[in-house]
Symmetry: C2
Subunit: 197 residues, 2 copies
């Protein structure tokens, strides 16, 4: 069953998916109608061809600038820095934040040999330096683990004096957790209770 094995292998690459779950997914596709499978393939192909990164904040975007960067109702003097694009949706759901974002696409990790140049730090610095009027606040919302903390401290050092203030979300987010799995209440509190660093 080489074709089926190949699909199971491809499905095992999905994050957090083990052999049994990959087999269940493959069984779903085998049972599904040809129309459903075609819809899936079309959605996947279109996402790869149409979704890129916003040139300003590096969130996923289907246009040039993303929806949030283009939204004239947002507070452009506030930038919330996150590790991953899906963190944005988690924060948006709280309704507690009306500024812009900046996606690092990872965190600084000396142990894994990932330095500031491997994430979108230079782009954040350029964005802050080019901003007119000056950015009032950078809210650092990296994950509360050692890489996220390292990144937060690095950014605080780098940006100090270049923006009004630098804050870090803190209140309510338990250590070791993942920002984008957090419930809305906790994340909302952590935004309101942010502390200056």
């Amino acid at each position: 069953m080489q074709h089926l094995d190949r699909l199971v292998r491809a499905l095992k690459r999905l994050p957090g998916v083990g052999p049994r779950q990959a087999e269940r997914f493959a069984a779903y596709f085998l049972r599904a109608s040809q129309g459903e499978v075609n819809e899936f393939i079309t959605a996947l192909s279109e996402v790869k061809s149409s979704v890129g990164l916003c040139p300003q904040c590096f969130a996923y975007s289907e246009n040039d600038l993303c929806d949030i960067c283009r939204d004239t109702d947002r507070n452009t003097a506030q930038i919330c820095v996150v590790e991953d694009p899906q963190d944005i949706e988690a924060i948006e759901k709280t309704g507690a934040y009306k500024g812009l974002y900046h996606v690092l696409h990872g965190a600084i990790s000396p142990l894994e040999g990932r330095g500031a140049e491997q994430v979108k730090v230079r782009e954040l610095l350029a964005r802050v330096q080019q901003a007119s009027p000056r950015i009032e606040e950078i809210i650092i919302a990296t994950d509360p683990d050692s890489e996220g903390e390292t990144t937060a401290l690095y950014l605080a050092d780098l940006l100090r004096g270049q923006v009004g203030q630098i804050t870090r979300i803190g209140y309510g987010v338990p250590l070791g957790a993942d920002i984008d799995y957090m419930d809305e209440m906790t994340l909302g509190h952590s935004l309101k209770g942010r502390t200056k660093i």
Copy 2:
């Protein structure tokens, strides 16, 4: 982000996948190389075009008869009846069974209005009646839940007198569990300790 939303909706249809996991899967595809995504699409398309059902046992097969039905080393006088194609792999891993299979593709469920004609029961009866020499044993390995029990009793009534004996795997499989999530030891024991019904 209509294209991304569409992919997330398609991913949510996978069994057991919620909104957050679907978003994580979509993020994986966005990060993956075009080559990886193409490989995935090819595997999926080929599975749909090349994998069918074995005309004898209704397992998934890429040829006419499946590998097990074509294997001349198997005991053709024994048929193990399972609900789903993935149950076969779970039983094969135990190494405790060398007969053939019959996949019902579901279980009889009066509550959901699924009768014997919606699963491959008629095909099993025809297979038993046409078998020469006579089938010595039918091992019923439906899931140990109410639908699986109903199906087992229905099959026992239907096939009594037409085969040497009808047995039901039992020993070791906890009630409410799913055959294809079972560990190999438990399944191996349940095959060895099967009881006559």
